[in-house]
Amino acid sequence: MVADVSFSLSAGECAVLGGPSGAGKSSILKMIYGSYAIDSGQVIVTHDGNLVDLATADPRTVIAIRRDTIGYVSQFLRAVPRVSARDVVAEPLIARGEALETARGRAEKLLARLNLPERLWDLPPATFSGGEQQRVNIARGFITDHPVLLLDEPTASLDKANREIVVSMIDEKKTAGVALLGIFHDQDVRDVVADRIIDVIDFAPGRKAA
């Protein structure tokens, strides 16, 4: 898929992975999040005051890193039967020990900010439209204060008004010192949020040999 991927990401910056479809942008995000295996190399993250190599971390450590350090907004929402949109969003906070009511309150604020109609909050998102699911997903990713946030096309199926809201949310994360790494196919969004573009074409396998 990709070979010799090297870059670093600092607190308070938003780097964007660039390159055509199929170049391996999502794969890189998934390797950092731990849902794809890494054949060789290292991914070092500061977790709980220590440097941890994600490529060799055991599952238990990866789970702890996901709970506390690395957040992820995936492209598609994986709906869980019977869990309401509000609780899907609140879950990461509850996992970190937040009280149920506080977490639900924060979830409602985010859903309201993202213009998800209040009548949907009690429903499981499985039957929502693509844009509605994506907003649930964004709220879920942004609700915690993880120091690293991975964004896989969070604005792909949103209208202009909602895209602007997401852009302002990303700016707030940057101000708060969060390191963001994202994929944005949408040129306007990319131009506004990106501090730096990392061209994934440079990591195509065989490129070094050529």
Binding site: A37, P59, P81
Partner: protein
């Protein structure tokens, strides 16, 4: 998070004569962790579960369990009485077929209450109150407490079996195809319930299933078995999204899309 596992499994093997049940299996189970054991029929996953839960004597290997007071005990060096005590209090076992785990001809309330009496509770009012509370938590209405499980649907029986297991506050629950044989909407309800309870109670669990969707929903980590061997293990979404072993790739690609 404690720094010690709850269960340590080292080189467990079980042979049926010359045939392999499961071969050389080792792993640690941590507090609060849900481990799924997946594989097709005959892959040895139930043999493994039975060897871990003292229902079947392994041919070789050790299983040690961290007792509430902190010491690790080898399950197969305990006395039968100690093992039975664990089974009744610290552990739960959810069978695929609820009639294997329930007493079908005593009331639902007594099915739940029996486990409490086994740990020494004697006050009838308290036992009945706990039973009522647990029936509510598994979404069985209070007016069914005096009915026998024979009069329950499959999904209700399975929920009753879960209540019976969880009422004593176990630390470790073994589940053998907990959603097998239930129709999909009943499965979804049961899965949601299990997921909530496991999280709320901080349970550790080992779940045997052939259903990868069940594994995805419930487990943190999974072990893929074939012909008695572990072919792959790791974080659940890593194994399912980026399977490394050819057999796991085959399993994952065999899932029907809705």
């Amino acid at each position: 998070m404690t720094d010690e596992p709850l269960l340590r499994v080292r080189s467990i093997s079980k042979f049926y004569g010359n045939r392999i049940g499961c071969n050389d299996i080792s792993f640690d189970l941590w507090p609060g962790e849900v481990l799924a054991v997946v594989g097709e029929s005959g892959s040895g996953k139930t043999t493994l579960l039975n060897c871990l839960s003292t229902r079947l004597l392994p041919t070789s290997g050790t299983v040690s369990y961290r007792m509430r007071y902190g010491a690790f005990h080898d399950l197969y060096r305990m006395s039968e009485a100690e093992r039975r005590f664990l089974m009744r209090t610290d552990w739960g076992f959810v069978h695929q077929n609820p009639s294997d785990g329930l007493r079908m001809t005593v009331s639902a309330g007594a099915n739940v209450g029996e486990r409490l009496m086994a740990v020494g509770q004697r006050h009838y009012g308290d036992i009945r109150a706990s039973a009522t509370d647990w029936l509510g938590r598994v979404e069985i209405s209070e007016d069914r407490i005096d009915d026998q499980p024979r009069a329950f649907s499959g999904g209700m029986r399975q929920r009753l079996q879960i209540a019976r297991n969880l009422v004593t506050g176990p630390r470790l629950v073994f589940m053998d195809e907990p959603t097998g044989g239930l129709d999909v909407s009943v499965q979804a309800r049961l899965l949601d319930l299990l997921r909530g309870l496991v999280h709320e109670l901080g349970l550790s669990a080992i779940v045997v299933t052939h259903d990868l969707a069940v594994a995805r929903l419930l487990s943190h980590r999974m072990i893929v078995m074939k012909d008695g061997h572990v072919v792959e293990s790791g974080l659940t979404d890593r194994v399912l999204d980026d399977p490394q072993a050819p057999y796991t790739q085959l399993l994952v690609s065999s899932i029907l899309q809705v």
